[in-house]
Subunit: 216 residues, 3 copies
């Protein structure tokens, strides 16, 4: 139990850094922001999903707020984006990888927390996905974009798959750490395949598939 | 008490389905979405108001999240919109009726929950209205629109009237079921009259009344 | 303790009125709204920051919702903006002052509440700033603007300074009322200096500083 919690914490902090850095860079590319905006949006991307998770799980105050390690890691990621954004901007590939790592870790740790608190499988899977995509959704709303998770790409679906794998394996009594890593790898691989082969979730039947820029 | 709760639950589930279907169709008309976006926005429209209600009432985890029936009903409404959206789109009239049903039921059940938990009349009325309009407001923000409840039509006002009727009657000790139905009918009738006769809430004094498309 | 709470309450109500009035006027200038929209956005500007604060501090139901005085004061501010908006619109100077008063009071009372509840210094400072800027951020999102706190001006930084002063002085055992007033004055002065001399928080290094209107 303690070991499992420690591993979940470590994975969560890695995901937090990845999301803060990538979230701040995304915001920086999309609109004009000062240092408050860049760091805030990095922190919101990193901590927002966990905050919604803890509201839904009645686990307030949010772990991401109560534990100073989350705050420091998230603020550091945002500050790095602010100071080095111009240089990091060229590293699109590694940053996509980093974001997929964050997605996978948050989906699995979010679902794991719900299971630990005694929530049902459906709720745990949903909470895992919300933990993974919630922060980026709030960031997109704040910078005036329709959240990309709603309109294109393969983003929520790998998160749902990873969360489902973690929850199902947990139901069958599989060991915590192995399951967490396996489920996160599944989510990561599906996400990266989506990026690599430009996969999308299905669009409404018989609706035309317009190009980007149609939203909003 | 038990009977009243059961009736509230049933009304709530009907409202949930109505809001999920109508919310997903509205989102589908407004912007480009994949299946994740359509189902998510249907679920948010249906469950978002109740979630805000339960945060304000300190009744977490949200009932709409904890109870799998809400999740299934909301997801079903969103999925129907995704698969049949093209056909349902022509049914503007019935869908407006369905939405008014959802508005009326959520206003009354939201206010009723606040009263049951011991909140004051003003808080209960406000919570009823937020339950009714909250989900659609989040959906509109996510698809990049100024929420229509803030700018035109008669939407929040019938919700406030229905919630007020339920709360006032409850203060005078009226029977739960009769009161709920009566207050919901009041809200429904005012809302449908607003749709039929194109009524608006008052605009600021001496401000011109520009056509639509001015927002944002 | 009781005296400190009373002072915090009074300051909070003054800030609530200032934010409701200014928030509703800002919304009125930015987009087309009916009476529901103006009053709602005034109330959200005034009460939204405190609601986020109380979620993060696990102090639900939110004080701003539970206490009818907040609701009445906020609704009054919004209604005054609705009926007198055309006239108040010319009073840009006094309204900026009023908003700075609200910012200062909310930053200090928000941080003070976190300290009273036993939260750490970093959390208390962050919560103070969120209390101060949260309501205006939600309002901006609802009217379709990138929140100005993220992109320009000196708004979050004086809030962070005021909250920090209040928290640091509290750590050294300074008296509640004196500290609150001193910290609020600090925040107010920095904010007004920012308005007067058109100061901005730093922009990303080597990024051009485009004119306004670039956002969104």
């Amino acid at each position: 139990m303690i070991a499992g919690s420690t591993v979940l914490l470590l994975l969560d902090l890695i995901g937090t850094f990845a999301f803060a850095l990538n979230g701040a860079l995304t915001a920086l590319r999309a609109t004009r922001l000062d240092i408050v905006g860049v760091v805030t949006l990095g922190m919101i991307t990193a901590l927002g999903g966990g905050t919604i998770r803890d509201v839904l799980l009645d686990s307030l105050p949010p772990a991401t707020f109560l534990d100073w390690r989350y705050l420091v890691v998230a603020a550091t990621g945002g500050a790095i984006a602010f100071f080095l954004g111009r240089h990091l901007d060229r590293l699109n590939g590694p940053i996509n990888v980093l974001d997929a790592v964050g997605l996978a870790l948050f989906a699995v740790t979010g679902a794991g927390k719900a299971v630990q608190l005694g929530f049902g499988p459906a709720q745990s899977v949903i909470v895992g996905a919300i933990t993974a995509v919630g922060g980026g959704t709030i960031r997109d709303v704040l910078i005036g974009r329709v959240p990309s998770v709603l309109s294109s790409g393969l983003y929520a679906i790998p998160a749902l798959m990873g969360a489902t794998a973690a929850v199902v394996a947990g139901v069958f009594g599989a060991d915590g750490l192995t399951v967490s890593v396996g489920a996160a790898v599944l989510c990561f691989v599906v996400r990266m395949a989506g990026v690599r082969y430009d996969l999308n979730a299905p669009f409404p039947p018989a609706a035309p598939d317009p190009g980007p820029g149609d939203a909003g």
